[in-house]
């Protein structure tokens, strides 16, 4: 009985065949694909000029320098700070003795960094728009 059932069902399904989509089916699919491909934004992989590790290294060096400078006249001195204690360097760094000066330098630095970041973002947008138009 199973064989007979299998035979009849197989024959029936084969005879019923496949359904056919409309005549414009292929054209519609290709039009959709072409439209979406044209509209789809170009994805450009943005690679940072300075890597994360690079920034960490720069940050480390800058922090070390700042700590060195700020601690120059304090009682606690790091062993390597001695090398900075030449007369010329000491005169040069003496400007950091003024707290107001240091604070103003820090604020200016933050201001410059923020603007650099904003300008680079804007430039990225211009670049992507330009690439997309091409």
């Amino acid at each position: 009985m199973d064989r007979e059932a299998d035979k009849i069902v197989r024959m029936s399904i084969k005879k019923a065949g496949l359904e056919k989509p409309g005549k414009d089916f292929l054209h519609s699919v290709m039009s959709k694909i072409e439209t979406q491909t044209e509209v789809a934004p170009v994805r450009i992989k943005n690679e940072a000029l300075i890597s994360r590790n690079g920034w960490l290294l720069i940050g480390g060096i800058v922090s070390l320098l700042l700590v060195t400078v700020l601690l120059t006249d304090s009682e606690y001195k790091l062993p390597f700070v001695i090398s900075f204690e030449t007369e010329m360097l000491h005169d040069y760094f003496s400007i950091f003795e003024s707290r107001i000066f240091v604070v103003s330098i820090v604020i200016t630095a933050i201001f410059v960094l923020l603007h650099t970041w904003l300008i680079s973002r804007k430039m990225d947008d211009w670049y992507l728009r330009y690439k997309h138009q091409m």
Binding site: S12, I13, K14, E19, F25, Q36
Partner: protein, 190 residues
């Protein structure tokens, strides 16, 4: 595994030749559309879903693992898309729609009376099955796919597929054996 013909077109599409995708659409459009019809039981909706399937396949082609079977992959997407569409529209589908689908959707007026009658009988019989069972039966009996591939497409275990196929066969046989004897007698009297 991807057939060498499919592989060739996939490589061309990935290289930027969008027109090469036409060959893949032509090759699979009938089966994709049929599977969508089997699930949705509605021609217009099935055509929309089939179009969406090809668009999705085109955009996902770069992520397709070429060691796997392209046919299985595209049928799996078809089943998922059709079932998702069915779920979102389920509330709107009533028995009235099913009847309409049977006459307006399945019925192709360009074919001769005899094949129309036969087709109608089979399609009526298929309506006794669930959407997934209809897909399984089509894949197994028409496309002669393996149980393993059907299990991948329908996201079921092989044992489950075997059980469902067995039940579907029994159900179809019960309907078809009566319908066929009736149909044969009509043809003979005409």
């Amino acid at each position: 595994m991807v057939t060498s013909e499919d592989q060739l077109f996939i490589t061309q599409v990935l290289a930027g030749n969008t027109a090469a995708f036409e060959h893949l659409v032509r090759k699979y459009q009938d089966m994709v559309f049929t599977l969508a019809v089997r699930v949705l039981n509605h021609h217009e909706e099935a055509e929309e879903v089939a179009q969406d399937v090809f668009v999705k396949v085109f955009h996902s082609l770069s992520g397709f693992q070429q060691k796997s079977n392209f046919k299985t992959w595209i049928y799996r997407i078809t089943c998922n898309e059709s079932i998702n569409r069915l779920r979102s529209k389920k509330n709107k589908i009533s028995m009235v729609n099913l009847e309409e689908g049977l006459t307006a959707g399945f019925y192709d007026q360009n074919q001769n009376l005899e094949s129309d009658e036969e087709k109608k009988i089979v399609q009526q019989a298929l309506l006794t099955l669930s959407e997934t069972e209809r897909v399984m039966v089509t894949l197994y009996y028409y496309d002669e796919m393996s149980i393993k591939d059907i299990a991948t497409i329908t996201d079921m275990t092989e044992t489950n597929v075997k059980t469902k196929l067995f039940r579907s066969r029994q159900k179809l046989y019960e309907v078809l054996k009566d319908q066929y004897s009736l149909f044969t007698s009509i043809i003979q009297t005409n």
